[in-house]
């Protein structure tokens, strides 16, 4: 065979023997059902490479990136740099995990099933909810599914959905995409950014199905949503809180505040930035709504020998049983990313996650304090508690500021004017445990310098 990396093990002799058994004279004979004029098109693709050549090619393409391993970065906005302990990838690279599929056959899938059960338990512990699904695609789609859940819970009634402007703009955009086929009214996104979330209360009425907020919000702000939850419940609406799970190492749980559904982006839990994916969607809820949860669920049971074991359960909610009556078409989870989060949370544990969360908090506050004192710069919301992200208002447009920072080897914060007209000259800076004091000091010095020019 002339091609290089086919991974096809057949010898010529085997091929001939198998063709004979299949009653075909040649491989081409197997495709007589394909219309002749469209059969065997010539594909214009590069000549195949061997593994050695492919590795070299990919190395050089990877090197064309100047990524956060090489350049100091203060970008967050939904994807965060964290230290991932070596143990996480050691487990992820086990073929028994990454080359298995959805655990349809529990007798020979207990590894994946128990890992999911442990993940569900860890997410319940972290969020203060009663049940978590086996994971979703990412934080944005998990929020879209929360709204889908609300539609199921309200049996198609209550078509109004309130979205806080403090939700990640990309999450809101995803919700808009998902809601296209439905008669949903999305409100709240243009609310005053300076107002506390309680300002959303006046939007809640008898037609409202669900209120969606973020914790911390997209700008890093920490709010207690207890009043909002009470107000939503008083009108029969649900509250969904989209979380950053690292922050939950420190902060009061959404469960304590009265959330009905918790969604979130699990990327901070041991998953590399990887240019935006694959990440991990967190989706958890209270006992009352378990049967409306989308996605896979794993439950405990016993086997024929009386041993404790785990299975996929409540599958009557899902598309392969319900078909057009299913509320969601999701059929997988983010299995391997779920495993990363499970191993990460296990390795860090009670002390480690708190330590990482506190470290993020202290470093971000150190940076914010210093920037707030810089001439020409100010913090947009100096009086509101924040976690590891904050808005810096600069004397020049964020795009221009970032261009100048990059000349000094710094990737600046996210340019908020891209999504919020009211946030001219504002950037969103994230500081996590991987950023040192020296690096923050360098940012502050550089900010002072570039604003002079």
């Amino acid at each position: 065979m002339s091609y290089a990396g086919s991974f096809i093990p057949h010898t010529e002799a085997e091929r001939e023997e198998m063709l004979k058994a299949a009653g075909a004279g040649s491989l081409s004979d197997l495709f007589m059902d394909v219309p002749a004029k469209h059969r065997f098109p010539k594909l214009n693709l590069p000549e195949p490479l061997t593994e050695m050549e492919a590795r070299g090619e990919l190395e050089s393409i990877s090197a064309a990136n100047e990524s956060t391993n090489e350049v100091l970065s203060f970008l967050g906005a939904g994807a965060y740099s964290h230290y991932v302990p070596a143990g996480v990838d050691t487990i992820l690279r086990r073929g028994e995990y990454y080359t298995a599929y959805t655990p349809y056959q529990p007798e020979i899938s207990q590894g994946t099933l128990q890992a999911i059960f442990e993940y569900q338990s860890l997410i319940v512990a972290l969020t203060g909810m009663d049940a978590s699904n086996a994971s979703h695609y990412d934080g944005a789609t998990a929020l879209a599914e929360a709204i889908n859940m609300s539609r199921v819970i309200h049996r198609g009634e209550r078509r109004k959905v309130i979205l806080s402007p403090g939700l990640n703009p990309q999450y809101r955009a995803t919700v808009h995409t998902y809601e296209q086929g439905f008669d949903t009214t999305l409100v709240g996104e243009d609310s005053d950014l300076n107002a506390a979330p309680d300002a959303l209360i006046e939007l809640i009425d008898e037609q409202t199905g669900i209120v969606c907020v973020a914790y911390p919000d997209f700008f890093g702000r920490i709010y207690d949503y207890s009043n909002l939850a009470a107000a939503a419940h008083a009108k029969g609406a649900l509250l969904a809180i989209s979380v950053n799970p690292t922050a939950l190492g420190l902060l009061k749980t959404p469960g304590e505040m009265g959330a009905d559904i918790v969604t979130g982006e699990g990327q901070p839990l041991g998953i590399p930035l990887s240019f935006g994916g694959p990440y991990l969607g967190i989706l958890a809820t209270k006992q009352d709504y378990v049967r409306s949860l989308a996605g896979r669920l794993v439950g405990e049971t016993v086997d024929s020998k009386g041993q404790r074991g785990y299975v996929l359960t409540l599958s009557t909610r899902e598309q392969h049983i319900k078909r057009e009556r299913a509320s969601s078409n999701i059929c997988t989870n983010q299995g391997l990313m779920m495993l990363a989060a499970t191993v990460y949370l296990s390795l860090l544990g009670k002390q480690g996650l708190k330590q990482v969360a506190e470290s993020c908090y202290h470093k971000a506050h150190y940076a914010a304090d210093a920037i707030g004192k810089l001439k020409g710069y100010k913090l947009k919301f100096p009086d509101i508690p924040f976690f590891h992200e904050f808005i810096m208002e600069s004397p020049l447009a964020a795009a221009e500021l970032n261009r100048r920072l990059l000349e000094h080897g710094i990737i600046g914060g996210y340019d908020l004017s891209l999504d919020y007209a009211a946030l001219k000259n504002c950037s969103l800076l994230a500081v996590t445990e991987v950023t040192s004091k020296e690096e923050v000091d360098f940012l502050v010095e550089t900010l002072a310098e570039v604003s002079r020019g």
């Binding site: 002339s2 080359t99 978590s132 955009a173 808009h176 240019f275 016993v302 074991g309 470290s359």
Partner: protein
């Protein structure tokens, strides 16, 4: 003894990985917002790693054995893919970095799009969809957007063959469409007359899997597509079964308007125990403007000797974004690596040998198991897992008994149009010896079904775990452990 839960391990005060103390002055924590307890495990590093290693050993996987799970294309996931996806430039790229800094990532996405266009014969591709189900959703939303854009508001139904995967009807409903099921004809094709009777001015489109879930190439595919187009509808292709078509036939040439491809099936990105998948969506010229975005595109054409500059392009009438950021990028790197190592000739061989393996199994098994549609199959085939003269044995028993031979069972009870279906997809990466061993096991099981059905009812016998009580799991719902005790 069963493996303890992570919460059953460890001891109060024990820690796994330590982190440095902050090197900055400490700020005041927001007292009103702090949680009172953080009930996470307290385990050591070795203890945790042993736990997850032991758990892994309870899984069947492609790396441990044959996995002929129909419609899932459980073929070898080249380990080189796992290396390349982790290269530092890719792994540490932030999705919001300026485009000038991430030309490598954008180039991967751009070339993968170009290659998928070439392989499937479509005008444009978006890599946004996170999985096949999301690719489907994108496809149906684009059909909707296309009709709406033309002011054609009467079209409210989607046709779906009765052999279709359950995601197809679920997706149509999520997009606000009414679903009409079309029956199959005696040869396993879409029944043309039944189809034509539904082709009217309310038709939005047809969702068609080809080869279908019986593993059969639709013999009248061009007539089917022509009928739908004739009524003003569009045809969505479920590319779940592309592993049969690489270099064999291009859906775009057949007239499909939109198609999703599963990188985790055809293009060897690992299934990961149930994800992450990746479901790029490909469209013909008239749907290009509706694609989900943003998409990697050339934003500055190359001047002589230079590389082009890649950047983000949002299609003019895009249905919008389907998730945060740009799709499952790590999967794009893996699929790129795979195609780079195959070339045109290698891809054609993939499908040829996938189909050869399936037909070989079909011929070896069909005298012993009923084959409801006896035609040359594509990459998979469907047998009946029951016999009139062994009334107590069902597909499930056969599936469980296969585990005793070290094989993962085929997909069972799907497609729904075959009684006790066993859907077998061997893939091209299995050798003849493995297939022969599988055949031997299947023949022995067929014999046992008649001579000793109890053996099958009690299976599996050699695995660490026996059959699970699924009813109990659903009735006495326990979805997390008691981590507070």
């Amino acid at each position: 003894m069963v493996e303890p839960l992570i919460y059953d391990l460890g001891a109060p005060g024990r820690r796994g990985v330590a982190f440095p103390e902050p090197d900055v002055p400490l700020a005041d924590l927001p007292a009103a917002h702090l949680r009172s307890e953080l009930p996470l495990p307290e385990v050591g590093e070795l203890e945790a790693l042993r736990h997850f290693t032991r758990l892994s050993q309870l899984n069947h996987s492609i790396l441990t054995g044959f996995y002929p799970l129909g419609s899932c294309t459980m073929k070898y996931n080249p380990v080189i893919n796992e290396d390349t996806a982790r290269f530092a430039g890719f792994a540490h790229a932030h999705p919001l970095q300026p485009i000038e800094m991430v030309q490598g990532s954008l180039a991967i996405m751009y070339h993968l799009q170009e290659w998928l266009k070439e392989i499937s014969s479509f005008a444009a591709v978006s890599l946004q969809p996170a999985a096949g189900a999301q690719g489907e959703l994108a496809g149906v939303m684009m059909i909707r957007a296309y009709h709406a854009d033309r002011g054609d508001s009467k079209r409210n139904k989607i046709l779906i063959p009765d052999s279709a995967h359950g995601t197809n009807p679920a997706t149509s409903s999520m997009s606000g469409y009414r679903v009409v099921e079309i029956k199959s004809d005696p040869r396993g094709n879409v029944d043309l007359e039944a189809l034509k009777s539904e082709c009217d001015e309310t038709l939005a489109g047809l969702m068609l899997t080809n080869p279908n879930t019986l593993g059969l190439f639709e013999e009248h595919v061009e007539q089917v597509i022509a009928a739908v187009h004739g009524a003003g509808g569009l045809v969505y292709g479920d590319g779940a079964n592309m592993n049969a078509l690489l270099g064999i036939c291009r859906p775009g040439d057949l007239g499909f308007d939109v198609l999703h491809i599963n990188l985790h099936k055809t293009f060897t990105t690992p299934h990961g125990g149930g994800g992450p998948g990746s479901g790029p969506v490909c469209v013909a010229e008239h749907l290009v403007d509706f694609l989900p975005g943003p998409i990697s595109g050339v934003v500055i054409e190359p001047t002589e000797g230079d590389a082009p500059v890649y950047g983000w392009v949002m299609p003019k009438k895009s249905i919008g974004r389907l998730k945060a950021f740009h799709g499952q990028f790590g999967m794009h790197v893996r699929a790129f690596t795979y195609i780079l190592m195959q070339g045109a000739e290698g891809l054609r061989a993939v499908s040829e040998y996938a189909v050869l393996n399936a037909n070989y199994l079909k011929e070896k098994l069909k005298g012993f198991y009923h084959l409801p549609y006896d035609r040359t199959c594509m990459h998979e085939m469907v047998l009946e897992g029951r016999w009139p003269d062994a009334p107590g044995v069902r597909a499930l028993d056969i599936a469980k008994r296969l585990m005793d031979f070290g094989f993962h069972p085929p997909t069972n009870y799907f497609p729904l149009i075959v009684h006790d279906a066993l859907m077998i997809e061997p893939t091209e990466t299995e050798d003849k010896a493995t297939l022969d061993a599988f055949v031997a096991a299947m023949l022995q099981i067929a014999e046992e079904a008649h001579s000793n059905p109890e053996l099958l009812h009690g299976a599996p016998h050699t695995t660490k775990y026996g059959r699970m009580d699924e009813v109990r799991a659903a009735r006495q719902l326990v979805l997390c452990c008691d981590f507070r005790s």
